[in-house]
Amino acid sequence: MATRNELIKKRYFVFFVLPLLAAFTVGFIIPFIEGVWLSFCRFTVIDNASFTGIKNYISAFGDKGFRAALWFTVKTALVMVLLINTAGFVFAVILTREIKGTAVFRTVLFMPNLIGGIVLGYIWQIIINYVLSVVGAPLLALNSTAGYWGIIILMCWQQIGYVMIIYIAALQSIPDEMSEAAQIDGATYLQTLFKIKLPMLFSSIMICVFITLTNAFKLFDQNLALTSGEPAHATEMLALNIYNNFYARPGLMWRGIGQAKAVIFCIIVVMIACAQFRLTKEKDGEYNE
């Protein structure tokens, strides 16, 4: 251990850490602390903030729009996580069989990830509105059911390829001997897949579920571009609801309430992260024993 500390003298902190720490303080630590503090204030800009205690939190929970956005987020998130991971996993299994065209399929399925949320939302708005007009249903701006499934379809289109890449890497890291041994013992292909491979992929599945769940909760650009919460905030997700509190809602109290909502939102996301962390830890522990 002594050599370690001699390797970099502590005074090099100034050179190696301080520049980033300064930027991090400006870009995260100050905004975070100020953000939490402002959730207890009434303000329109930081200079006119006045402390109001937990009033913002009471108003936030009392806001029907917020509760509706929370519920909408939960029900889209759950369906998205399920569909994206199931499809991503199935495609990964198919594409690790080394069928003809694997490289092309993998390229195509991942491609939408490179396109930004705003552009994705706009592309799908055009497509979905066309389909709706063909079947004679109201367009997205007036059709919350279409808005609900629209955002799910959009996110599937974007993220299936992403989790598929992770599942492919995980499947390929399983040594061939394992499945060969199982097959010699008489296991069928599907038995090998579900009984041997699936348990070994547990940590990858956890990671993908966590990534897709957090992405779903934090979803903003796609939501803004596809429906911007229309009709009448019925397809508004948490992040957009908070954003609208800040930049689209008249009234002196709304920024404070928006900030309180953001703190609640943050606590939810942190709880998801902790749950994932503990689950992965426990399972890893089981394997190590």
Partner: protein, 280 residues
């Protein structure tokens, strides 16, 4: 391979071909519409191929490029992405190396804060971040990289630290014995070894910053500066009067560089995603 397995694989190829066609179709639809005349674009003709009557050639593209301010937006996006990613790669890898090699309570605390910052949703910090950027005069395209460096540091430090932990310390010790200072050791010995992670982090951050809409919207003055996502959202915002043809040309011009970037760097992108996930 048995006959049965061969036919199963053929079946899968057919299925995946169908899936791929569905996947490409939305972009293809935007592409064919971007070639149509304005009057021929409507919700009920989206999937019709352009014919001699409706074909507009590249008129929408030249319109998007000349009248809609696409080129300045594109250059601005390139500039912001390149400066921010370069800063993230240099400063975050330096910091991660120090954190891993000088393993004490302070560096552990700093590392913990970086990891925490990855989880926090942008909405919590968005208002005070934009105000802080204003107060410190970071609200210009020349300085926005500092904001990205601060807010994006978490993932980068996390990935670099994960990699550095797996690198044996012997090489660095040898360099010190040969008379290298820590700064020389870092830049001559450690930094070149980080190449795979530099590429992974670079790609992940490029994808994020290139497509980011909200942070530049809140930090920059939209009247003066628009990145590509800002430009597209800006034109969309003015609903009734929006010209669909040039809009779709804009979309294609945005998708195209992303597609080229992807096809050229595909190998690294795929590795980067997998590496980022394993460490996530």
């Amino acid at each position: 391979m048995s006959k049965k397995e061969k036919s199963i694989d053929l079946f899968f190829t057919v299925i995946m071909t169908a899936v791929s066609v569905i996947y490409v179709y939305p972009i293809f639809a935007i592409f064919i519409n971007s070639l149509k005349k304005e009057s021929a674009i409507g919700t009920n003709t989206v999937f019709k191929m352009p014919d001699t009557q409706t074909f507009a050639g590249l008129a929408n593209y030249s319109d998007a490029v000349s009248a809609k301010g696409f080129i300045p937006a594109f250059l601005l996006s390139v500039f912001i992405t390149v400066t921010s990613v370069a800063a993230l790669l240099v400063f975050c890898s330096m910091c991660a190396w120090y954190i891993v090699r000088v393993n004490n309570r302070l560096t552990k605390l700093i590392y913990g804060l970086f990891v925490f910052s990855m989880i926090v949703p942008f909405q919590l910090v968005m208002f005070s971040l934009s105000q802080t950027a204003d107060r410190l005069f970071l609200n210009s395209p020349w300085t926005i990289w500092l904001v990205y460096l601060g807010f994006g540091a978490g993932l980068a430090v996390f990935m670099f630290a994960g990699f550095i932990r797996s690198v044996p310390i012997d090489v660095e010790e040898a360099a010190v014995i040969d008379g290298c200072s820590p700064i020389q050791t870092y830049f001559l010995v450690v930094f070149p070894m980080l190449k795979p992670t530099l590429i992974s982090v670079g790609i992940l951050q490029t994808m994020w910053i290139w497509n980011d809409y909200l942070l530049p919207t809140l930090v920059l003055d939209i009247k003066k500066y628009k990145t590509v996502p800002m430009l597209i959202q800006y034109f969309r915002g003015s609903y009734g009067s929006v010209q669909m043809g040039p809009m779709m040309a804009c979309i294609m011009l945005t998708v195209l560089p992303a597609a080229v970037f992807y096809l050229v760097l595909q190998k690294y992108i795929v590795k980067g995603i997998a590496a980022g996930a394993v460490k996530g």
